[in-house]
């Protein structure tokens, strides 16, 4: 059995404005299934850029990218969107919930889009996810009525709804206090260990990184550790 979740092969990327600049320099690495990986590095080291390349949202790069043994190079945008929908969950620094929807609706949205389960099932799963994140009472509140920490947890519940093989976080705790940071970290840890979901998170938080399974450090677009 192949236990590689993600395979990056010689990823090179340039920024073209304001002038040509190499952000990522031949980056290659594998991530195993169920691994909790932190991407660290100074501002401008290219770690976020790398994450968006891995996320399939940024397709303007050279090199190879495989997730779940699927080659994602040269795929059409719509194919990639469908792939993200099924296989990748996102948690961003800002929650980016739809403010007019309730927490529950926000969580259900990616699953409704995927359309593999009935609405009742999705709703039950969404409740389960909100419970996992300690938010069952907030389910029917509009997203913009929740606190920052609650919103970020709803965003995580949303990232989990389609049971993606990989969860990607762009500074998922960057906006949270230490207590909420701990909650989020514990959830990630639990997901990786109990459900075997792969976590790749960009972080500035050394403590957060230190507790993860593996640290990938970037410096000036190169993988240094």
């Amino acid at each position: 059995m192949n236990d590689i979740a993600l395979k990056a092969n010689n990823i090179t990327k340039y920024f073209h404005t304001p002038q040509k600049f190499q952000v990522l320099k031949e980056i290659s690495f594998d991530v195993k299934k169920g691994e909790f990986v932190s991407l660290v590095g100074k501002s401008g080291s290219g770690k976020s850029t790398l994450l968006y390349v891995l996320s399939t949202m940024d397709t303007d790069f050279e090199g190879g990218l495989e997730i779940e043994s699927q080659d994602l190079i040269g795929q059409h945008q719509n194919r990639l969107a469908a792939f993200r929908n099924k296989h990748i969950g996102f948690v961003f620094q800002f929650h980016y919930l739809l403010p007019d929807f309730t927490a529950l609706d926000n969580v259900m949205l990616p699953a409704l889009k995927l359309g593999e389960k009935s609405k009742q099932e999705i709703e039950a799963n969404a409740y389960k996810n909100l419970e996992l994140l300690g938010l069952p009472e907030q389910a029917l509140k509009p997203a913009n009525k929740l606190s920052g920490g609650q919103q970020q947890r709803v965003a995580i519940a949303r990232a989990l709804i389609n049971e993606p093989s990989i969860i990607m976080g762009d500074e998922p705790t960057g906006n949270l206090d230490s207590k909420n940071t701990e909650i989020v970290f514990d959830i990630f840890k639990q997901l990786a260990e109990e459900r075997g979901q792969t976590i790749i998170a960009v972080t500035h938080d050394d403590e957060f990184a230190a507790k993860s399974d593996r640290i990938l450090e970037l410096s000036d677009g190169e993988l240094v550790g």
Binding site: S48, Y52, S55, M57, D58, Q77, N78, A81, A82, F83, R84, N85, K86, F90, F92, Y96, L98, P99, D100, F101, D105, L109, P110, L112, K113, L114, G115, R158, D170
Partner: protein
């Protein structure tokens, strides 16, 4: 297929910005109601105009036209030579329609025909003592004439049908009566082109509100007119035909013309200016109303663009979660379509209201009492259809912009 998830997002967008959505709906409402009003008004004007015109004009007229100009037939044989025929004349061998009855019977069998009547028209001099005016004398069958043109309703004094009973009776146009200085029961002398002079009694005065008719026309019994011209019983100068639908006149004139040896002329051929006026007014209505719709379209475009800009982060996150470009287009297009449908429905009601109110505004010129207005389903349907087309077109561009949003650049800021 519109996905219910996309519908849900679209509804959330609309309901979160009720005010803006309402403004957009109002702009469509305005556009569509004005479209309906303009077109109803123009159609009303056209119909009134046509109705006025048809109060004296038949849909099809049959008469004895001048023969073709054959004064120089030799030229056709000797094409290379110059042939000069001196003092050439076009000779009309027959005058009028000698035996109109068989033609009338034949035309009455055509199912699209609603009325046929024959007339004996001539140019005459009307005299009263030393005052003398030339004008048109029309020998008519009063009953049939009234059935076709409603002439009796224009009578100012006297009774129209008296023409059928009184062989010595004359009905004068009101302007002509004025000019001649005659009143009811006075005598008027009529002189024909052939020099025959006869005296008739004024038994009625007619006012059609069309000056050229009121100032120059008079009616007598058709048989009296035949006598005056020394013609036989079946004689007529014109046969007038009315149809169920006057728009069919050209086609029917051609059909009837195949079986009749005389000139069969539709009103469209004879009165190009009427048709041109109608057409031009229609063009004005279309131009104005489409312009209004276009402005409404810009309103929607503007508001949808604002929405897209406002929701750009949501769009980015939807795309990150796996929504495709097509889903995003659906989300925003659905909003435009909802705005269009709401605005269209309200606009149709509002347009009907405006048209009804304007239809009550007094306008007392000629035989009109209020501003004319037509209420035709086709105007409402086409307003709705054009409204929807405008809405979809105006909504599509912002929707496309939204679908092309690059999630990375938005999320990373």
């Amino acid at each position: 297929m519109i996905r219910s998830t996309n519908l849900k997002v679209a509804f959330a967008h609309l309901t979160s910005r009720v005010k803006q959505a309402l403004v957009a709906v109002l702009s469509v409402t305005f556009g569509i109601s004005m479209y309906i009003f303009m077109n109803s008004f123009m159609t009303g004007v056209n119909d009134t105009q046509t109705e006025l015109a048809f109060s004296t004009l038949a849909h099809i007229k049959i008469y004895n036209d001048l023969p073709e100009d054959r004064s120089n037939i030799l030229q056709n044989v000797y094409e290379t030579k110059l042939i000069n025929v001196r003092n050439a004349k076009v000779i009309q061998y027959t005058e009028g329609i000698r035996n109109s009855q068989p033609i009338i019977e034949q035309i009455e069998k055509v199912p699209e025909v609603t009325g046929v009547t024959s007339q004996v028209n001539m140019s005459v001099y009307f005299r009263n003592g030393s005052t003398k005016f030339n004008g048109q004398l029309s020998g008519v069958n009063a009953k049939k004439e009234n059935e076709m043109f409603g002439t009796a309703t224009s009578m100012k004094f006297g009774v129209w049908e008296d023409i059928d009973r009184r062989k010595d009776g004359l009905i004068l146009g009101s302007g002509l009566a004025n000019k001649l200085g005659v009143d009811m029961d006075d005598n008027v002398t009529v002189s024909t082109a052939d020099g025959i002079t006869k005296s008739y009694r004024v038994i009625g005065i007619i006012e059609t509100s069309m000056a050229n008719i009121d100032n120059s026309k008079a009616y007598i019994n058709i048989n009296t007119a035949r006598q005056l011209e020394s013609k036989n019983q079946g004689y007529a100068t014109d046969i007038q035909v009315n149809l169920i639908d006057y728009d069919d006149a050209n086609e029917l004139a051609e059909r009837i013309g195949q079986n009749v040896d005389y000139k069969v002329e539709s009103w469209i051929e004879a009165n190009g200016q009427l048709e041109a006026g109608n057409e031009l007014r229609n063009y004005i209505a279309i131009a104005v109303s489409l312009t209004i719709l276009l402005v409404a379209g810009f309103g929607i475009y503007n508001i949808m663009n604002m929405t897209v800009n406002e929701k750009i982060k949501e769009i980015a996150i939807l795309k990150a979660m796996g929504f495709e470009g097509g889903d995003i287009i659906q989300i925003f297009l659905v909003q435009s379509i909802i705005i269009g449908i709401l605005g269209g429905l309200v606009g149709m009601i509002f347009g009907f209201g405006v048209a009804s109110i304007i239809n009550q505004v007094p306008f007392e010129i000629a035989s009109i009492d209020t501003l004319p207005m037509a209420f035709r389903t086709v105007d409402y349907v086409s307003a709705f259809v054009f409204g929807m087309i405008t809405t979809i077109a105006a909504g599509f561009l912002p929707a496309r912009t939204a679908s092309l949003v690059d999630p990375v650049s938005i999320i990373r800021g």
